[in-house]
Symmetry: C2
Amino acid sequence: MSDITPVLSAIDRGLDHSLSRLFELLRIPSVSTDPAYTDDCVRAADWLVAELSGLGFTASRRDTSGKPMVVAHGGPAKETTTGPHVLFYGHYDVQPADPLDLWESGPFDPQLNDGSDGKIIVCRGASDDKGQLMTFVEAVRAIRAVHGDMPVPVTILFEGEEESGSPSLGPFLDAHQDELRADVAMVCDTGMWTPDTPAITTRLRGLAHDEVTIEAASRDLHSGMYGGSAQNPIRILSKVIAALHDETERIAIPGFYDDVVPLEAEVDAQWREMGFDETAFLDEIGLKTPFGEAGRPGLERIWARPTAEVNGMIGGYTGIGSKTVIPSQASAKFTFRLVADQDPAKVIEAFRTMVRDLIPEDCTASFSEDGGGSPALSLPLDSPYLAPARQAIADEWGTEAVLVGSGGSIPIVGDFKRKLGMDSLLIGFALDDDRIHSPNEKYNLKSFHSGIRTWARLLMSLRAS
Amino acid sequence: MSDITPVLSAIDRGLDHSLSRLFELLRIPSVSTDPAYTDDCVRAADWLVAELSGLGFTASRRDTSGKPMVVAHGGPAKETTTGPHVLFYGHYDVQPADPLDLWESGPFDPQLNDGSDGKIIVCRGASDDKGQLMTFVEAVRAIRAVHGDMPVPVTILFEGEEESGSPSLGPFLDAHQDELRADVAMVCDTGMWTPDTPAITTRLRGLAHDEVTIEAASRDLHSGMYGGSAQNPIRILSKVIAALHDETERIAIPGFYDDVVPLEAEVDAQWREMGFDETAFLDEIGLKTPFGEAGRPGLERIWARPTAEVNGMIGGYTGIGSKTVIPSQASAKFTFRLVADQDPAKVIEAFRTMVRDLIPEDCTASFSEDGGGSPALSLPLDSPYLAPARQAIADEWGTEAVLVGSGGSIPIVGDFKRKLGMDSLLIGFALDDDRIHSPNEKYNLKSFHSGIRTWARLLMSLRAS
């Protein structure tokens, strides 16, 4: 472990230069959603290729039908090492800067300002995701400066369309599976739990979605003529929705929980001690009262328990005023957040069976053709990559990382798992107050500095013993 | 009663002339919804004024901001008779003729054809409502020819906007209350139960309407981030809708049935023997299974029991595909069909109280500003006008009239009740197969002929004894 000491010293000594390089990248307005910035996206990719080439990586810009990928390979050949092969992922594109008049300095004119918690780097992309991806690049630089090469094989993949839904990423992974497959992915697009508490995101809920249309009469009916004799599809669909949960807010679809496993005791204990203030969490969206499965703490409900939501519903007359009609149909969109081993196809099938069982004679239910989804993802507690990551973080931050979840999916993690068979270590140093996607986005200098040091510690610790 | 015999003879002898006059009126394409026919509407009104003037009535065309009214007064002065003063209502406007290519003869070129049940008059307006209103005019003609004058004071009101929603009628009644107020209204816009069974419509359900909007979070939420912690207004509104009825399809709003009275035994017995084929009734709209309040016959459910319907509902994302959102609001439109003494305002208030009781913390319910409606209307079984009407019909048709209901409202009847304090006798001779509003509209010659004879019998019987 003493190999790390000179690397950390090099990082500390070189921090100003690291910051200068980050500022160079931040000055390139690589907005992926706006065609006006297409050339800037290419320029950002080229800048990264040049940086990585300068670090001894075999780096290249890979053009796609959208924005280019940057791929770089460094470290020992896979064949000559017993250490794990690491794929590092980040994205160089950023959100648009609008609304411009709310920025206190130019959105692409990076500033090092005083913040409430030390120095802060203010610029679009400072946190999401240029600052974060540069923590890894600068860690690589320091290791190379001290040791001449990486301790393990490292592949770097930077994309330029993350803020545009990553349309080219799936096809690119498919086309370059052999080149990009590694033992573990490291993804730097997540955050800390608090400024003092680092986090590793080890679980992402999955998703299943479906749409239901209930039909009854062959046309909309006059409610005076037929009211009291004919079925009303809105009422039937409402009954279905009302029956989805029992009085404890547990989902009432038969078999729905078959593949849900209890939260690990270690994680449960950690979450209960994390001081999650659900009331404050809800206050930001105008709500006051935590709601959901009875008897489960808030973090478990949003990270580790499945949900059934209606995302939209429409039926009958929805214009101005009143219309005395019994509608002929009503439809609703449903999504289920999934956890553990729940299979989206099995969940959708159970849902459909329940719907069919609930609808009366004279009503038919039809479902969307593309009902489906993706399962939950998690990094097992016994993953061989989790222990060194926790150790590196604990050594750097002086406190244990909390193992957090994400209620939503992160598509790249699913792609890495399904297309390349890799688990992902989701580690990032962003903070809740970083204002990503908003004016005056910032990244704490401490996040940048300790982030570089954390990756250096982790990479060095992965070297085969 | 012998006074009627020469009147009936006059009607029979004059039938061809009566038919000729009806044909004249039918040839005027008085379509009220299409401005191209505005002059024809005026022409139809003028034609009626001339006819009624020719019958000794003080008749005039009354222009409105829409199509003109025709008002005529005849018979003895109110002060000189103890018999009731009668207001007869009909409408001279007709539906558009489209689609023209489905007519077997010109839509405004009346034909006397052979039908399955005797001769039929084919023309737009033959049944709705020119044929029907002319049954009354021709009855007046025959009575006058035989007796020189009407047996009771008669006011006639024909409007020209019934197919356009009668926008001028309410203001016209308000402005001419004293002129138009009578002891009873006779409205000729309804039908027979079967070709052999005449009917008097003695009850119309009322209506109350409201719109509910449920709001929760201050914006639409990401279902991954907040699913498991935040309220979903579509789910809450669905629970409200599902709770509106109990498992017997009885409406579960507290106090909802307080002012509902049981069906009169005589009417109940009549309805049970009317051979209503609810399955056939539903088959026309693609349904098979009667649905509604358990243990109630079909006719009672659609004519004499209240309902609660959702007419439309919308919330969240309703476009193409899936969107992982928890919506911030959902809304639905409700109508209640009312019976007996149910008060629309009281029903709406009870509904709103139930909604407020059902919604959880963090949700708010708001309601439409114009929630309201109109109460049910009925002609009491002991109305002094019902017995002579039943007798006139029985004498003419050789069978008792059935006392039917209408599940929907007929605005003119409500206006007569509320603005002029009059009950209405709803008597008409249209048949279910008359194809009103459709191509090849027809009116049976028997309906026309016996209709004239029925009104003559009824008018003569009203003379003070």
